[in-house]
């Protein structure tokens, strides 16, 4: 060290470009497996029943795919989460932070349940076909209204959409609580499912949701990638001023995109209450509105990659449900720890896909190759949470 005049740092962070796709995928896979390995060790240490960490992996696969019903539930839950993620994508691409998916889903559930409850308690028999048409129209409509209100305020008055959409969540959940009090005056705050009314079963109670979300996925892919609307919202996301000078009506695009976002959340709510649970509670959304922020962000707002992230997160949460049973954890905290660790690993590997560390002795080699060094940009892509 004595001969060097300027002390060099041990390593530099260097932007990496053009990592082949297979390598990228491999890094992701390794990160996920690495994260789960860490979780498995953690589980084995905490468990009184099981000492072998690797049993966690068999438990996870068993939990997600162990029986025919589990496979259906896995695909259904994955599809619903994917649906919510796809609802957020257009808004997020437009840099409109729609944190209100929970509320948009729940308000749709509430409206659907109200209609089903009305039909169920009506004196004159009401055919299910009418109920189905009504819940589709009003359920999806409710989701649209819940998303459009913050969008209109953002477009015309420049209000902060993050706070506004969050606030709308509380209003929706509060409304559900109020209505449950009315419907079940001395109950425990839970409503009986109304089995007589609702969406028809296609094959079984899971398939309709899966089919619908599949169609939405195809639609969103083409909407974002190929349509004029998709292009416009991307421009608004990049720069509102650019969009304005390019002749794009920013207000219109904002409201239109959020109507789409709310409509998809409304469809998810419709599928949950109309097709699966036939009931409503203030947590009918299963917190997918927030989980979907993670899945869509991890996917870099790419609808196809969102499929992978949604099913991965669903796999981990269903898998951890089984792990809790097998390992004797009488608390769901462990599942959240697992998800947290895996998120962390994925976000960390995001960094290593975009940047690389160049150590002191290999520096001259990198210079020869003309790679530029960037400083202080660590974790630029990992800042969600």
């Amino acid at each position: 060290m004595a001969e060097s005049k300027v002390r060099e740092p041990l390593f530099h962070v260097v932007k990496r470009e053009g990592l082949p796709i297979w390598k990228t995928l491999l890094v992701y896979a390794a990160a996920i497996v690495g994260g789960l390995l860490l979780v498995s060790i953690f589980c084995a240490v905490c468990s009184e029943d099981i000492d072998n960490p690797l049993e966690m992996f068999s438990s996870m696969f068993d939990g997600a795919f162990g029986t025919e019903r589990r496979i259906w539930i896995f695909v259904r839950e994955g599809a619903l989460l994917l649906g919510v993620s796809l609802a957020l994508l257009p808004a997020f691409k437009m840099r409109f932070w729609n944190l209100g998916a929970n509320g948009q889903i729940v308000i749709s559930c509430l409206v659907c349940y109200s209609i089903m409850n009305w039909a169920n308690t009506s004196e004159t028999p009401i055919p299910n076909a009418i109920v189905v048409i009504m819940i589709i129209l009003f359920g999806v409509g409710a989701g649209i209204v819940w998303a459009a209100i913050p969008a209109v305020f953002k477009a015309f008055f420049g209000t902060n959409e993050t706070l506004f959409t969050l606030m709308m969540n509380y209003i929706a959940q509060g409304l559900v609580t109020v209505m449950i009090t009315i419907w079940a005056p001395t109950g425990s705050g839970s409503l009986s499912p109304i089995k007589n009314y609702g969406l028809p079963n296609v094959i079984n109670e899971h398939f309709l949701a899966i089919l619908t979300i599949s169609l939405i996925t195809v639609f969103i892919f083409f909407y974002l990638a190929k349509s004029k609307h998709g292009y416009e919202l991307a421009v608004v996301g990049e720069s509102e001023k650019t969009a304005k000078y390019a002749g794009i009506n920013v207000k219109l695009v904002t409201i239109r995109t959020l109507i789409l976002s709310g409509a998809i959340c409304g469809i998810v709510g419709l599928l949950i209450t109309g097709g699966i649970s036939h009931s409503v509670s203030s947590v009918s959304h299963n917190n997918m509105g927030f989980t979907a922020i993670m899945t869509s962000w991890l996917a870099g707002f790419n609808p196809l990659i969102t499929i992978a992230t949604s099913f991965l997160i669903t796999f981990i949460s269903l898998g951890m449900g089984q792990v809790r049973q097998d390992f004797g954890f009488y608390n769901d905290a462990i599942a959240n720890v697992a998800l947290g660790i895996v998120y962390f690993f994925i976000i960390a590997c995001h960094f290593f896909i975009n940047y690389k560390l160049v150590f002191r002795n290999s520096k001259h080699l990198e210079e020869k190759m003309g790679i530029t060094t960037v400083g202080g940009e660590k974790g630029k892509k990992g800042g969600n949470g």
């Binding site: 390598k23 491999l26 890094v27 896979a29 390794a30 497996v33 690495g34 390995l37 029943d49 072998n52 690797l54 049993e55 966690m56 992996f57 068999s58 696969f61 068993d62 162990g66 029986t67 025919e68 019903r69 589990r70 539930i73 609580t177 109020v178 449950i180 009090t181 079940a184 005056p185 001395t186 109950g187 425990s188 705050g189 839970s190 409503l191 009986s192 499912p193 089995k195 699966i276 649970s277 009931s279 509670s281 203030s282 947590v283 009918s284 449900g321 809790r324 049973q325 097998d326 004797g328 954890f329 009488y330 608390n331 769901d332 905290a333 690389k356």
Partner: protein, 400 residues
């Protein structure tokens, strides 16, 4: 970089292989028997009481770990049906759910799997649904609360400096304003009043939280009651919120669901689910059927109580004497002569027994000299939902 990737790939592959091996090498597989579904996990005293009893019952009946399972944190939603149906798929013969809101989903599963027995605590519909494989169960916990209240009354007798004009003000933190909770605090308050020395009275304020489990809210509710002058506090909510508040303020506390291990604990009562779980497991192993609607009592050891560190001298013998009277049936908790409603003694009352929220059954019975409200008599789940004189509700909470 390639080396690193190769290494990671190797790790991934080996994990996959080993986990497959682990799946195969599970050892002896006995037939699954019993499964428990709980609303929250062990951090909730209510659910912990079920989980502990379930494990004890399974161990008592010699079940292997592979023969029973517990899934905690199952919401009162479709998730309950999915879980129950999944257990039935897996071959469990007895499936139990512990929360009121699970009932509709357990019934749904019971209809679909006639060969599997479904059991549900605190529910109200088994008698009206008439499904052979769906059962409700609860215990006459009001007797346990009466005894815990009696211990609290004896404690108050040693705190006469805290009485205002010979009246003790006590507080109660409740979850929701419905029968299970109302029945609980009323029996507790009646026990407390029965133990007070001649010339002393008590009044009670009740603060509801609107949730079964919220540590901060329950603590806040207890502090509200203490600040309003309560000299002793009890609760029917599932976190350690109220007991902690009482310890911090050095206020005697009466608990539910088990020992809080606080220095201020006077007494606690709890439902012991072990006898019921054992019946359920016996049935699954080929034994006798379980009643469609079953009420555990002091005699079946389903209702238990114990004293804490902060108890008055001589309490044990006195409470045991009262317990003997309850067991013998000579003392009734809801003896109509012992309480008034709007200044009057009850002579008849229509309670909602069939679960439609409309009272239809007269539940006031006269046996010999005693006229009493027959709680948990026509149905295991409580239906006493009257606010008696001396009790003030600071708020009401329905729904979640």
């Amino acid at each position: 970089m390639k080396k690193v990737l190769a290494l990671l790939l190797t790790v991934a592959m080996s994990v996959a292989c080993l986990s497959t091996l682990a799946a195969c090498g599970g050892g002896e597989k006995a037939d699954p028997v019993a499964a428990l579904i709980t609303l929250h996990g062990t951090s909730s005293t209510y659910d912990k009481n079920f989980i502990d009893a379930f494990k004890t019952a399974c161990a008592n009946k010699g079940l292997k770990k592979s023969q029973y399972t517990v899934k905690s944190d199952v919401g009162e939603s479709n998730a309950c049906y999915d879980t129950a149906a999944d257990f039935a798929d897996k071959g469990y013969k007895a499936i139990f759910a512990d929360s009121f809101g699970h009932e509709a989903y357990m019934i749904q599963a019971a209809e679909q799997f006639p060969d599997v027995q479904f059991y549900h605590a605190t529910g109200t519909q088994s008698l009206t649904k008439n499904l052979p494989n769906f059962h409700n169960a609860f215990a006459s916990i009001y007797e346990g609360r009466y005894l815990a209240g009696y211990a609290a009354g004896l404690k108050l007798n040693t705190m006469k400096d805290k009485a205002v004009e010979n009246n003790f003000q006590v507080g109660y933190v409740g979850a929701y304003t419905y029968a299970e909770v109302i029945s609980g605090y009323t029996s507790w308050f009646l026990g407390l009043q029965a133990a007070l020395d001649e010339g002393y009275t008590a009044t009670m304020e009740v603060q509801f939280t609107g949730t079964w489990y919220d540590e901060a809210l329950e603590k806040e509710a207890a502090n509200t009651l203490i600040n309003r002058g309560a000299v002793l506090v009890s609760q029917h909510a599932d976190s350690m919120g109220a007991p902690t508040a009482c310890q911090e303020e050095s206020i005697p506390n009466v608990a539910y669901n088990g020992n809080t291990e606080k220095s201020t604990l006077v007494a606690y009562s709890k439902i012991n689910w072990v006898p019921y779980f054992e019946m359920m497991i016996d049935k699954a192993l080929g034994g006798a059927s379980v009643d469609t609607d079953w009420t555990g009592t002091l005699s079946t050891d389903s209702v238990q109580w114990a004293l804490g560190a902060n108890v008055a001298e001589g309490t044990l013998a006195k409470v045991q004497a009262i317990e003997a009277e309850l067991k013998a049936g000579t003392l009734k908790v809801f003896d109509c002569a012992k309480f008034t409603v709007g200044g009057e003694h009850l002579t008849s009352y229509l309670a909602d027994v069939d679960g439609d929220y409309v009272g239809e059954k007269n539940v006031i019975i006269t046996e010999g000299e005693v006229t009493y409200f027959a709680e948990s008599y026509y149905r295991s789940a409580p239906y006493f939902d009257i606010t008696i004189d001396g009790v003030t509700l600071l708020n009401t909470k329905f729904g979640d």
